[in-house]
Each structure stands twice: as structure tokens, then as C-alpha cells.
Symmetry: C2
Subunit: 962 residues, 2 copies
């Protein structure tokens, strides 16, 4: 009577009984057995093995399922058969493990169902070798280990391990069904279903936050704010994806960590939908991770089993088909239509749905990408305006006017030894005018703007993340869960530890806890350091090679007597060099990625998190060095190590270091950036991400000589898990993030020299979002829903980059552009306070008699008159000075001004950034209010409940006593 606790228990029993009854195939003895074993299930940590009846039951199921095969498929609705269900058509497949089977007999029997199709066999064989290398989803590398060890373990041994593993899985309460006779020959499927009580138990363990019955109104700020919000929402209505959210935006269910004892709090009206497919599969994955094979020499977890090839792949199922007759409405289809399509490129992303389908981690990636793209819009607009300002003022620009004015009869010193001759400055008119587009006062403003933009972006993202955390009920989710994840050791690490243990046991040494120490890893670390150093050197050497290419080609072309060739020299050299650079960057990118992975594997990191961190660290350094070395060279070194006429700097024998065109190197930096950004994005996105998959598909099609109708039929008769088996494995989000980080670097680091970078990035990202979306929805297996509160290390990298960007931009403006010299001239040297005479001021005098013998031009009379003094771009004392050709006072004054600018710029921008950072609160005010309110509501709910309980209790008590 007073037993409140017991009451919930019995309620619970009823619930589970109900749930099981809803499955037509679950026989009476099943539900009764459940009832019997229930109290043990209630135990949380060390649940008892499921009773033997139940185990038998599962075997029965499998048998029944096999028997069912003889029943013609058509008798059942195709949805039930082909959907993600067990062969009973009721129990949902929450997870699939696949393995190799060698019994060709059964395969033949199966394939004979399709009669004539020898090709299918061939097709599946070719595909299955591919998919057999597909590892457990969140990892990327056990495939190699798998191949290494594959030969060691015989098939029988594998089967025994599988049997033990499956036995253990059943003990945890999961229900299994095997399908070894699927359409895909050589592959057996183990379908896993989590019944209601397992789901509840695990949800409680995992402290999953589930919606309670209590729904509360989300009030956003005061009335005015709310109205403005509504107005904006109305105006942007066409931009919102047509995703019917079941609840209005103003309501939010109160969520609470699921607890079986508090089941009455939750809305369990539809138990099949209480845990959605994402949650179900992540629960099963949690159980799988915990289950171990204990019989082999050392315990084997799922990761180890996958690594050893006992299982070939493990994945949860997609919700349904995207296209075709079987495609009933499902989240995947909705995502495909409303998100993974180029036709909706202008719309917001349905982040809530993405998170619901793929989990928080993927959701956060796309939310981040969305915020980044959104933030690029103002940057792109301002960038275009800055560029247009450059275009508009090009005719008013005094320095370029002076260069283009033929009356300023300035004779320049030759650009190369012997082959080149003196030239008129007026021929550089085009370059000078083009230079102005990217080198004007607006550029400085734009640099400051972009530095602040980066800070604003970070702040905006922090707030958005906080908002998402609130909406997704992650506010309480803390380190505990992550720590758990961290503690899960990698298979390779365990294997190595095992090896070490065995070795120690052989040598008689016994230690309680064997772990890999630094000394064990020392060779790997050494290799890493050496390889990283080597690869960075390779990058430098290649950049230097390109420089040599440029110098030599230029010299060679100058030798040529064709006037047309000579005319196009500069353009040709610049463009080819930039393209070569681009190709090298793209090729090295792929190589470096592979090498970083290999090096990280060598180090045998303990946990997945550590592996990921180390890999990201290496990849980031290598890819960054690769992408930015040529750019950094152009920005800061080119034209600075030239020497002066009569005393040039020579490299590799007799090659003179290259100089910039008159108007600075900014122009060339700009071209390089433009080609790198455009090319990299076009090639990597379009070729690698769109082209090659299409090409592969086409090739496959031709190879199998399969016409489209047949494929259609095939696809329609394939079961859900078979279809998903054909998709590519999910390899994590790191490559996507990395690509974006490099792009962010391009956008912020050298924005002073290329104001169009944000525009290019924006255009690329609009495609990138939909491209990634398509990949996730259609081409990859469904990832395990991983929880994440933030984007982790990437945020720190972004922060670091935006800090570095400030100083890099300061240097670009100060040293690469002519901004400071112009300013100094205007305010220190100009007689009338304008830029008139600036060009003359930047050019030093050189007496042609001071040429080293053998370097003077072969055609001194090329211009038609004898040249006695030529000019070159530098600040040096004239030949008639006592300190001839030494750096002049102007040089030092301008250098001081440049350095002062760097200091001022860096500190002012940093201060402003810190100020903005401090000004904008990390947690939006309405969200912090809501979180507070939610806490109060939660306490209220519990209080009310407790009170209610006490009253009932009290009544009962009084009944009892009186």
C-alpha cells in the first residue's frame, strides 16, 4: 500500500509487456519470460544474463526468419520486408554488423533466385571487397590492421569469436537476427534490435535527456524584441526550409535525463517513436562498445573484432529510401529534398532535422558551416565594394598616372643580366594601374574590418553554439560523457599493449599495469619529427624550384627575339608558375594527408580522441605549410632579396633573384591567391568530390553492363541493410573541417592583398554545403550519432588563425603594399602635400659605369639613345653621394614608419578584438534567462510530483493507521 517504489515497477512491467505485445511474432512465452527477468533488468550496473528461455527464443526467431524465406516476399507489403525491420516485419533493425562468409553453396542458392544474373555476383564481389575494408564508422584506419591480421586468423576462429560475441550481446538483452543468404554474396548480416527494456536501461545509463510531458512556452525577450523577431521571421519565410517541425517554435518540451523510476514524467504515448532511430542506434552502439569477447587470449571489443576482420563493417541503418516507389516519407527523404539539393541553396539549413537524423556532432558542423557562410556575406559585400573603390579611383591615382605619363621620361635599369636592356617605366603602366585595384587606402580599412569580422564571427558562433546547446538540451551535458569516450582504448593500442605484456611475461617481468611508455613510442616520435621536417623541407624546396623555374623561363623568354613572346613574358610566367604551384599544392595535400595518417598510426595513440588530436595537429601543420608557403614567399620575401644594380644577389650560379613589378608584389600575391583559392576549390570540390564519384559510378555501370531498369529493379528488391552496405563508410568530419580552416586562413590571413577572397569563399561554401549534404544523405552510410557540445579543437585553430591574421595583415600592409611609403612621402617629403613626385622619390639612381663587368646589357642602345644613369626601385643614395648606393635616410625613415605601423595596427586591432569579445556576452541573454527558467520549472515539476506522492502516501498512511 505504501509501496510507491513498487508501484512504478509494476507499471514498468506493464509497459514492457505492452510493447512486446505490439509485435505479433513475439509469443506469449516471450512476454512472460520478460516479466520474470524483469527485476534483474532493473539492476543497473551488473544486469544478469537473460534467462535461457529468452536465448532460445532468439534462436527461434532466427529459425523462424529462415523459414520465412520460403514464403514469397510479395505476400508481405514491400515496405515491411524492405524497410529496416527483422524478417518478422515488426522489430526494427537498429544496427548491422557484417562479416565474410565462405559458403559459396548458399550464395549460389540465393543468387539463383535472380536466375540469369551472373553479373550480380561479379558486381557484389567487386563491391564487397571495397566494403570489407570499411571499418567501424568513427574510426578510419583499422582497415590496415585488418588486412595485416586477416591472414593470421582462420575463418573458423573468426566464427567462434562471432558466436561468443553474439552470445554476449544476447546476454545484454539485445535481439539478433542473422541473414547469411542475402542478395550480396559472401557477406553475412547480423541485424541487431534493441527491445524497449534495453533501450530504457541504456538510456538511463547514458543519462539521455528525453522530453518530458511538460511543455513550456519559450518567450524571447520583451514584446518589442519579440515583434521584431516575428517580423524578420515573416520576411525571411521563403528562406526557411519546408521542414514541418512537429511543435511550434514557441514551445519546447522540458527535457530530463531519462530514468525508469520517473517514467511517468515522460510522454510514452507512442513507445515506438519515443526513441528515434538515431537514439536507438546510438544506444545499441553503446552496448556493442561495452560487450567483449573474453575467450581469446585477451578481451576483444567491437573495435578489435573489426580490426581483426571478425566483422567487416558495422553501421546503423538509414531511415528509408530517397527516391523510388518504396520511398515513403521519412527524415532522410525530407533532408534530401529540403537540404541536400542545389535548388535550395539560398535557404537556411534545417539544422534541427540534421541533428535529429545525424546527431549533434554533424549538426554542429553544418551549423558552423552555415554561420561561416552567412558571415561571409557581409565580408564579401564589403570586399567587392573595396575592389570597386579601387576600380573607380584607378584614374585618380597619382602614382599610376605618373607612371603612365610618357612625359616622365624615366629610364629603368635592366631586369636581367645581359639579355635584358634598359626599359621605359611607362611600359609598366598596365601593372601599375592593376596594382592600384588591390593596393589603396580602402585595403587598410578592409584589413581592420576583416580582423574584427573574424572576432565577430567567433563570437557569433559561440552564441549560436550556446543557443543550439540550449535547444538541443546539451546544457547539462558535461565532461563526464566525453571522458567516458576518452577512456575507450583503441584496438591497435590494446594489441600493442598485449604484445608488450606477452613479451614481459616471457622475460619473466611482471607488472600489474602494462602501458605504452614514451620509450616504446620513441621510434615513432623520431620518425614523426624527421618526416615532418623532411616534408616541410620538401615544400620549401618545391617553392624554391618554382622560383627557379620562373627566373629561368623568364631569362629564356627574354632571349627570344619574337616581340609577341617578349610582350607576354610576365603574364605567361606568372600564370604558369601559379598553376604549377596550385597543382603541387593539390598533389602534396593528398600525399601529406596520407603521411600524417601513417605517422599517427605509428605512434599508436591510446584513445580515439588522442588519435584524432594528433592526426589533426599533423595534418594541419603539413597542409598549412603546403598551402601558404608560396603565398608567404610572395608576400614577404620576393623582391626583397634582390640586391641592387651592380651588386645583384645570385642564386644557383648565375640566376638573379626575381624582383617585383614596379608597383610592388601585391599584384603577384593577388594573382597567386586568386588562382590558389579558385583552383583549389574548383578542383578539390568539383573534380574530387563531384567528378570522381560520378566517374566511378559511370565506370561501374559500364563494367557491369547493367542497364538502368535492371538496376532499378535490383534496388527495389534490395533490403535496407543491403542498400546501406553498398554505401561508403563515414570517415569523420575532420577532412571537411580542415578544408574550411584552410579556406578561413586564405580569407583572413592575406585579405589585405586580396579583398575578393571572401567572395570566392562565399561562392564556394554555398556549393560546399549542399555538396556535403548530398554526400551525407545519399552516398555515405549513416554515422553513429555522436554527442558534442562544441566543435572542439577547430575552434581553437580558428582563434589562433584569426590572431595570426592580425599580424600577417599588418605586415602585408606595411611591407608588401606601398601604403606606408606613400603616406611617408605625402607627409614628410612631398613639397605640396600630394603624391606628385612619389614615383620619382621611390626610384634610386644608378650610374651604368658601375655595372659589374659581364652584367651590362648586350643592347645598350635598345631604347634608341645612350643611357648614362638608369633608375631602380629602392631607397639608396645616388652615385654622386659620398656613401653611394648605401641605404638612404629615406629608407630608414620609411622602415621605421612601417614598423611603427605594424605595432600600432597589431595592438589597436588586438585591443579592439578583445573589446568586442568582452562586449558581446558568450551566452545570449534570452538563452541564459531560458536556461534559468527551465531549471526553475524542472525543480517545480519535481516538487509537485514529490508533494503529490507525499499526499497520496499520507492519505494511504492515514487510511492505514485509522
Amino acid at each position: 500500500m505504501e509501496c510507491q517504489g513498487k508501484r512504478t515497477d509494476s507499471l514498468d512491467q506493464n509497459d514492457s509487456a505492452l510493447e512486446l505485445d505490439s509485435s505479433p511474432l513475439s509469443s506469449c512465452e516471450h512476454s512472460s519470460s520478460m516479466q520474470q527477468t524483469h527485476p534483474t533488468v532493473m539492476k543497473s550496473a551488473d544486469y544478469e544474463p537473460v534467462s535461457s528461455e529468452e536465448r532460445n527464443l532468439d534462436v527461434d526467431f532466427v529459425t523462424t526468419a529462415r523459414n520465412n524465406e520460403s514464403v514469397p516476399m510479395k505476400d508481405l507489403c514491400p515496405d515491411t520486408v524492405l524497410g529496416p525491420y527483422f524478417s518478422d516485419g515488426m522489430r526494427r533493425v537498429d544496427y548491422v554488423l557484417t562479416y565474410h562468409i565462405q559458403k559459396s553453396g548458399s550464395t549460389r542458392r540465393r543468387s539463383s533466385r535472380f536466375g540469369d544474373n551472373n553479373f550480380i555476383q561479379r558486381l557484389w564481389r567487386s563491391l564487397s571487397t571495397r566494403s570489407s575494408r570499411a571499418p567501424l564508422q568513427p574510426k578510419e584506419d583499422p582497415e590496415v590492421a585488418a588486412q595485416e591480421h586477416q591472414t593470421d586468423y582462420h575463418e573458423d576462429d573468426k566464427r567462434f569469436k562471432r558466436d561468443e560475441f553474439e552470445e554476449n550481446l544476447r546476454k545484454t538483452g539485445l535481439e539478433l537476427e542473422k541473414d547469411e543468404e542475402s542478395t550480396i554474396p559472401g557477406i553475412g548480416f547480423l541485424k541487431i534490435h534493441a527491445p524497449w527494456n534495453v533501450l530504457c536501461r541504456e538510456a538511463e545509463f547514458m543519462k539521455l535527456k528525453m522530453p518530458t510531458k511538460k511543455v513550456y512556452e519559450v518567450k524571447q525577450g520583451s514584446n518589442v524584441v519579440e515583434k521584431i523577431r516575428m517580423f524578420i521571421h515573416k520576411v525571411t519565410a521563403p528562406l526557411h526550409p519546408k521542414v514541418n517541425t512537429s511543435r511550434s517554435q514557441c514551445e519546447k518540451p522540458l527535457c530530463h535525463a531519462f530514468s525508469r523510476e520517473k517514467q511517468h514524467l515522460f510522454d510514452l504515448s507512442d513507445k515506438n517513436k519515443f526513441f528515434d532511430s538515431k537514439t536507438r542506434s546510438s544506444i545499441v552502439y553503446e552496448v556493442l562498445k561495452r560487450t567483449k569477447c573474453m575467450k581469446p587470449k585477451y578481451p576483444l571489443g567491437l573495435t578489435s573484432l573489426l580490426a581483426n576482420g571478425v566483422y567487416t563493417s558495422a553501421y546503423p541503418l538509414h531511415d528509408g529510401d530517397i527516391v523510388g516507389v518504396n520511398a515513403e516519407p521519412n527524415d532522410r527523404k525530407l533532408l534530401y529534398e529540403q537540404w541536400a539539393s542545389y535548388s535550395v541553396f539560398y535557404k537556411y539549413q534545417p539544422i534541427g532535422l540534421i541533428r535529429k537524423y545525424f546527431g549533434e556532432k554533424v549538426g554542429l558542423y553544418f551549423a558552423w558551416l552555415g554561420v561561416y557562410t552567412q558571415m561571409l556575406i557581409p565580408a564579401a559585400i564589403i570586399g567587392v565594394i573595396v575592389f570597386l573603390y579601387g576600380c573607380a579611383t584607378v584614374d585618380d591615382n597619382i602614382p599610376s598616372m605618373e607612371i603612365c605619363d610618357p612625359r616622365n621620361n624615366i629610364t629603368m635599369c635592366p631586369l636581367c643580366d645581359q639579355a635584358c636592356s634598359y626599359w621605359k617605366l611607362v611600359t609598366a603602366c598596365g601593372t601599375a594601374r592593376a596594382s592600384h585595384l588591390f593596393d589603396n587606402a580602402a585595403t587598410v580599412f578592409f584589413s581592420v574590418f576583416m580582423a574584427l569580422w573574424a572576432v565577430l564571427f567567433m563570437e557569433h558562433w559561440k552564441r549560436r553554439q550556446m543557443r543550439l546547446n540550449y535547444v538541443w538540451d546539451l546544457t547539462g551535458f558535461g565532461e563526464e560523457e566525453e571522458e567516458e569516450h576518452k577512456d575507450h582504448n583503441r584496438a591497435e593500442y590494446e594489441f600493442r599493449v598485449m604484445q608488450k605484456k606477452l613479451k614481459q611475461e616471457h622475460s619473466g617481468l611482471m607488472d600489474e599495469k602494462v602501458k605504452l611508455t614514451c620509450t616504446d613510442r620513441l621510434p615513432a616520435y623520431m620518425t614523426t619529427v624527421v618526416m615532418m621536417g623532411f616534408m616541410i623541407t620538401v615544400t620549401f624546396v618545391i617553392v624554391f624550384g618554382v622560383i627557379l623555374y620562373r627566373i629561368s623561363i623568364k631569362a629564356a623568354l627574354h632571349m627570344s627575339s619574337h616581340p609577341v613572346v617578349r610582350y607576354n613574358i610576365r603574364a605567361t610566367v606568372k600564370t604558369t608558375a601559379a598553376i604549377i604551384n596550385l597543382i603541387i599544392i593539390i598533389v602534396l595535400d593528398e600525399i601529406y594527408g596520407a603521411i600524417a595518417r601513417w605517422l599517427t598510426r605509428l605512434e599508436v595513440p591510446k584513445t580515439d580522441k588522442s588519435f584524432e588530436e594528433r592526426l589533426i595537429f599533423k595534418t594541419f601543420i603539413l597542409k598549412f605549410v603546403n598551402a601558404f608557403t608560396p603565398i608567404v614567399y610572395l608576400a614577404f620575401f620576393r623582391g626583397r632579396l634582390v640586391g641592387r644594380p651592380g651588386n645583384y644577389l645570385y642564386v644557383v650560379g648565375s640566376y638573379r633573384m626575381e624582383e617585383c613589378a614596379h608597383a610592388g608584389c601585391l599584384m603577384e600575391l593577388c594573382i597567386q591567391l586568386c588562382i590558389t583559392m579558385l583552383g583549389k576549390q574548383l578542383i578539390q570540390n568539383n573534380l574530387f568530390e563531384i567528378g570522381i564519384p560520378k566517374l566511378k559510378k559511370m565506370l561501374r555501370k559500364r563494367k557491369s553492363e547493367l542497364d538502368s531498369i535492371q538496376e532499378q529493379v535490383l534496388h527495389n528488391t534490395l533490403k535496407r541493410y543491403e542498400k546501406d552496405q553498398l554505401l561508403g563508410p563515414f570517415v569523420g568530419l575532420n577532412p571537411e573541417y580542415m578544408e574550411m580552416i584552410i579556406q578561413f586562413g586564405m580569407v583572413t590571413l592575406f585579405v589585405a592583398s586580396f579583398p575578393l577572397a571572401p567572395l570566392f569563399a562565399l561562392l564556394n561554401n554555398i556549393i560546399e554545403i549542399r555538396l556535403d549534404a548530398k554526400k551525407f544523405v545519399t552516398e555515405l552510410r549513416r554515422p553513429i550519432a555522436a554527442k558534442a557540445k562544441d566543435i572542439g579543437i577547430w575552434y581553437n585553430l580558428l582563434r589562433g588563425l584569426s590572431k595570426v591574421a592580425v599580424i600577417v595583415n599588418a605586415f602585408v600592409i606595411a611591407f608588401t603594399s606601398d601604403f606606408i611609403p606613400r603616406l611617408v612621402y605625402q607627409y614628410m617629403y612631398s613639397p605640396d602635400g600630394t603624391l606628385h613626385g612619389f614615383v620619382n622619390h621611390t626610384l634610386s639612381y644608378f650610374n651604368v659605369t658601375d655595372f659589374d663587368p659581364g652584367t651590362e646589357p648586350l643592347q645598350p642602345m635598345h631604347l634608341g639613345y645612350k643611357v648614362s644613369v638608369c633608375r631602380y626601385k629602392d631607397y639608396r643614395d645616388p652615385p654622386w653621394s659620398s656613401t653611394k648606393y648605401e641605404l638612404s635616410k629615406e629608407f630608414w625613415a620609411i622602415l621605421a614608419a612601417r614598423l611603427a605601423f605594424v605595432i600600432v595596427f597589431q595592438n589597436v586591432v588586438m585591443l579592439m578584438s578583445d573589446f568586442v569579445d568582452w562586449l558581446i556576452p558568450d551566452i545570449p541573454k534570452d538563452i541564459s534567462l531560458q536556461i534559468h527558467k527551465e531549471k526553475i520549472l524542472m525543480v517545480e515539476l519535481f516538487m509537485k510530483e514529490e508533494q503529490g506522492k507525499r499526499i497520496t502516501n499520507g492519505n494511504k498512511q492515514s487510511e492505514f493507521y485509522y
Copy 2:
């Protein structure tokens, strides 16, 4: 039988009954009434008012207490009577409220007990006016409001409010006792005692973490680490304070939020000691904060009541006496002996005990101060070494050798117009040699070292804080509690809101939620901005005034014909100016503190937290500007705005701006820093903090003409709460922190110019710790134990300062010291790569015929020969150059080098700092392991308990069924 929940209830009842029985005066009806009301007490949010019997009981108590007075005091042991107990000698006084009483009759009756002592009355009257202004402890300002409103409310009104408030307090279950006839006339005491059930209930509300029975071993790292730790502990044993911690350091009880339902988990063997005095008083304070007077026009909380003078002060009691016959062993005495004594200055602080007695916030302050002082030791050592290096190399220093060499017959231009004449550089020999002490290569190293030291300090503190958080079980303590604290509105804010509401009601406007908007506060904000601007201007003007003083005194002294006077000119001027600066700084410091407080009160911040933040912000800015303006002027502006001979810069008519001595301004900066630091600390610490209180005491003694024996007697017969009433109120930690932050600024900001700063700071802090300790233990009332996880805003200020320090030091080295010019000379201009000729290089030539008429010296033949060309310290072209007296190429080259140095220094040091920051994990590894372990243990404990329950349950059930 199955009623598990009920079982604990009854257990609970027994417990409380037991507790109450332990009090001899608590009559039977009391404990029975408790039993009856118990179920309602169990309700958590809206507990019922205590039943009327109980209330009567409380009145009884008071009556009994009054009756008791007639019983001679001596009959009870003095400990019980004078200790912190109710008059029954059993119930502990957890909190005291005081109020004015006007019945002089009772006072007379009371004072007559002491017979002849009219002086006592006078003494108490003088003291009580002081203490009546003592506000609720954590606030500092309602005293003014109290005085304002004091006249408005009549005494009767106050008494009614008090009666209602006390009524409400009794409803919450607190027990009260009044003492209106104490030794101190005119002051009534309301003693508050929290009985066990109230303590339990509130502890559950406040989620206080209490130790459970489970004790676990704290294992720190591996064996080797443990051994090293033990060894260090043994070696430093004499440094540890002799505080007997009840448990060994290797054990720690598992703590868990107190819950009445889980009482069996906690060690309740001694209920009187389960909640210590600190916890008891903070629990009572929590109840007091929540209780409101509802009858007046608007609800009055404790803060408002204090502000309105209904109560005059509120404080918890100290544990006992420090000295004297009544001083039984107690924590306060232990603290006094082992901590608040100069004789233990070399020992560690007993942080655990401090926290136990004063709470976490005070504990953190002293822990921080300790870490800071500890970290200053290496800095001081290195600083002294750097200084000694300067001393040792002073004779090898080529520039000063050259200056001191009379063979270098260099004639310098006059230092002032007319009155001064030419002088020999050799006379500056002493200054040059002294300069070298602070301006050598080691200084640069020391700057870098100190920048990294600052980062290390922050990191070390972060780790120490984390460790303390772990030891003090604050790891779970999060934002919730702080938010709660935040939500508590200030009395003045409520009052203003009330005013506004009334006004709105009058004008017919009705709004649900009235709050102070920006427009309401606009005048205050305007005042703040104007006043802040004005005060900063005042500081600047004063600094400028001191400059003028220096210039004019110097000129005047130069006119004097006494050779002795002229000889001591420089020293005199420097020292007097520095002392004037110091005095101004100290005076303005006090004024600015008061003004900042006034401005913040004007703004009427909503919450205490907001008040504190605004106050700190203002005080920090004002005090910082005040302390550092003269120093910044000396470091960066002095000697830079001089002009050149023939074209000097004149200010205020005909005063020439002052120049530095030959060897740079570093020397003067050093003197200023030295005097400011030493003087400020000596005067503020010794005079203000030691001297003035002593003086006051002495004066008071003389005034009351009380010989020491009488005072002794008086003190021995005073009750605990009367003694505490005589102490000063606790005004928060902010002034202490502020002092330290300014000192930290001195230590880090200009460390490049004064390597002895850390030593001075260290010496000061060793005294400061004990001084503060003495103040807290002996001179102030006990503060309410406030919880805090960190030192809050001060950490950010420290971080900000250490960032600013990097750039300031870069500038000091580059611009104030001669380091860069020496380097540039050595590597660019020196003919032999040494510093020979450096002095000559730094001096420009001036043709005496180019003096402006009227500025040439009156005694040109002062040196005994005619001077045609004199030298001055600057890089300018010589008179024979075409660009005479213009800045020379060397100037620009050195400027560029200086700026380049700033950039390199800043970025390298920042990078190194970030690297160190990244390298050292914020949470010590062993702590994070321990936290993890603790979590697991906690889960285990609960699991075991739950399982045990289930088994019992199950057994019971089976009993029931079978």
C-alpha cells in the same frame, strides 16, 4: 513493511528527537511538538509555519532567559555563559542582529551592576555610534542610506518591523533570544540559533556538500612521485604550520550534497559538530536573506531593514577568545597562533583552517596571496642576481668608462638657458655608472623572464585553485549558486524601484514590472563619465605640476651661487619630486576610492555583484592611472620632448622641458619606482594598517582613563556577541586585492627598469599576509562564509596586466634604455665591433653661434676656455652638413631597430606565453584522476546502497508474499 521511504522518515524523527534531547532545557513538549511538525518540515519548498506551541516555546525561552538573569552568573561555568550560547548555555548563537534601544532605564539598571563606572557608559556610547554604522557584512554602503532614513522612521515603527521580522524568522524554525540589557547600553541583541532540523533542511536546499562516512585514500601519482612528494614534505616540515588536521593528508572523505533522505550516508555520530560554526552561520544567513517583512508598503528584506536602521548590524560570532583566561582551544585561537603572527612569517599558511573558519572566498584570497608571494621568491632571486650582475660589470662597461675617462674631453651644451653653462661630460660619470646597474643586457633577459614568470604564475594559480576546489569539494559547485546570489537585489535598488513605482501609480501609469532603465540611470552615468574624466585630468595636471616644480626648482637652484647647493641639485630635485609624487599618489588614492564608491552608489546597481563589479572597475581605473601616470611619463615622455640646442621646447612661458641625464631616463624611472613602491607599501601598510589602529586604541585608552586591569575584567565578563559587536565590520576583500593588483602592476609592468621590484614586493607581502591575517582574526567581526570557486574578476585583471606588461616592457627596453642604440652601434657603426666610441656616436654637434639670442649661457668661459662647438645627446646632423640639425640617418636606423625590437619582443614573448599556457594543463593530472575516481566511488556507493535496499526490499517482499 515495504515502506522503505517511511523507514528513513522515522529514523529522521528519532534523530531530531535525539538532538533536541541533548539540550537540557528543551522540554518534553518541545521534542514532541517537533515530532508532530516533522512531516511538514520535510517538505522542501513551502514549509509550514512552526506550530503555535513551538512559538510559545520560543517565547518561553526568552522569558526563561530573562529570568535567568537574576541568577548570579558565576553559578554557571564562565565558558557557558560567555561563550557563543543562548542563556541556557546549550544552544549555540549562530547569528546576531543588533538594534538601537532607547529605554535608558534598563540601561541604567544594567550599568549599575558595575557600580561606579560612569566611564563605561561613555565608552560604549562612543563605540556604539561607530558600530551602529556597521552594515551587513558583505555590503559596505547602506550606512549612508541608514543615516538618511533614520530620521524618517520612528522608533515604534522600527519595533513593529522588528517584531514582524522576528515572527517570520520563528516561522522558518529558527530559535531566537533577545538580550536588551547587555553591558553595552543602547544596543539590543537578537541572538539566533538554528536547530538541527532547520540546519538539515537548509543544507539540503543549499546543496551543501557534506562529508559522507566513506573515506578514501588519496593516492598521488605513481610510487616515485609519491616518494618525492613525501621527501619534500619531510624537508619542508618546519615550514608547515602546526595545525592538527583531524585526518591524515592521504585520506579524504567522500563528500555529497546533503540530503535528509540519505542521512544514513553521512557521519552523524556527533551532530553538534556535523555542521561547523561557519556552516551554521551561513545557513542562518541564507534564511535571513530569504525572510521578508511583508506588512510595510513594500517587502523589506534583511538588507533593507539594515539600510533603514531597523537593525543596526548583523554578524555571526567568532569561535572564541584569542587570549585570556577564557580562551579554551578553538579555531580562532589556533589561527591566531599559527597564522596571524609575525613569528611564523616563514611558514606556509594553514589554508584549510582559514577556509574552515572564514569560508572559501577568504581562503582563496589568502591562498592566492600565498601563491603570489611564493612565486615572488624566484623572481626576487633572479632580480637580485640581475642587479648584482649590473654591479659586477659596472667597471667593464665601455660606455660608462668612456664617460668617466677625463681624456675624452667632451664639452656638453648647457642644461638650461642663460643660468647654466657648458659642462664636461666626465661630471656625469657617477650617473652613468649607476645607470648601468639597471640598464644592461641582463635587464632584457629579466624582462623576458618576468613575462614568462607572469604566465607561470597564472598557470600555477589556476592549478592551485583547481586543487583547492577539489580538496574543498567545490568541483560540482557551479553557476547556479552564483546566479542565486546574483538575483538578490540591493536594498537601494529596491527602494528606487519602489519610488518609481509609486510615482507611476500617481501618474496613472501601471506597468507590471517596474525596473530602472537606462534613462533612469542616465544622469548617474553622465556624472560618472564626467567625474572619471575630470579625475584623470586632475592626475595628469598634478603630474605636469610636479614636472614644472622640477624644472623651476632646478632653474632656481642653478641660479644659486653656493657650490654645495649646485652640486646636490640633481639628487635634491629628483628625490623631492619623487616624494611629492608619492604623497600625491597616496592622498589621491584615498580620495579616488571614496569617489568611486560614491559614483557607483549613484548608479544604483541592481545586485551586489553588479555593484561590486562597477566599483572595482572604477576604482581600478582611477587607482591605476594615479599610480602609473608619473611612471609612464618618466619612462616614455621625459627627455623626448626636449627639442635641441637652439630650438628647445618651452612650456608655460619660458620653462625648457627637462632632459634626462646622459645615460638615459632609466635611472630616474628606477628611483621613482623605488620610492613609489617602498613608500606606498610602507606608508599604506605600516602607517594606515598598523599605526593608525594602534594610535586609535591608545587614544581611546587615554580618553576613557581606563587602566589595563579594569579593561581586562571588562573583557572577561563581556559575552561573546558583545565582544564581537566591538570589532570592526568586515568590508570585503576588494581593497586587499586592489592593493595587490597595483603591486603586481609595479612588479611586472616596469620590471625592465627596476629588477629589484620583485624583492620589494616579496618583503612587503611577507608582512602583508600576517597583517591581513591579524586584521581578520583579531580586529574584524567574523565574515559570512561566502563560497567561491575562483578569485573572479581579479584573475582577468591579472591576465590583462600581464599582457600589457609584455608590450610596456618591450617599449621600456627599446626606448627608455640604451640597449638598442648600443646594439645598433656595435653591429652597424662600430669600426671594431665593440662599444668603443659609442658615447661619441650618441652625441651630436652644435655650433654655439646658432643659439637663439638670449639663450646662450651667461658665463661662457665657465670651463676656462672658449667653446665653439658643444655636444648634446641626440642623433642629428652636424652643423657642417647640408641638412644641419635635422634627424640623422642613424636616428632613423636606430628607430627602426627599436621598433623592430618591440615587434619581435612582443610577438616572441606572447608566443612563448601561449605555448607555456598550452603546455601546462589547467587541471593537475593527479587531481583530474582523483575527481574521476571520486565520481566512480560515488556511483559505486549509491549503487551498493540501492542494491542493498532492493535486496532488503526483495526479502521483505518475499516474506510478504509467501
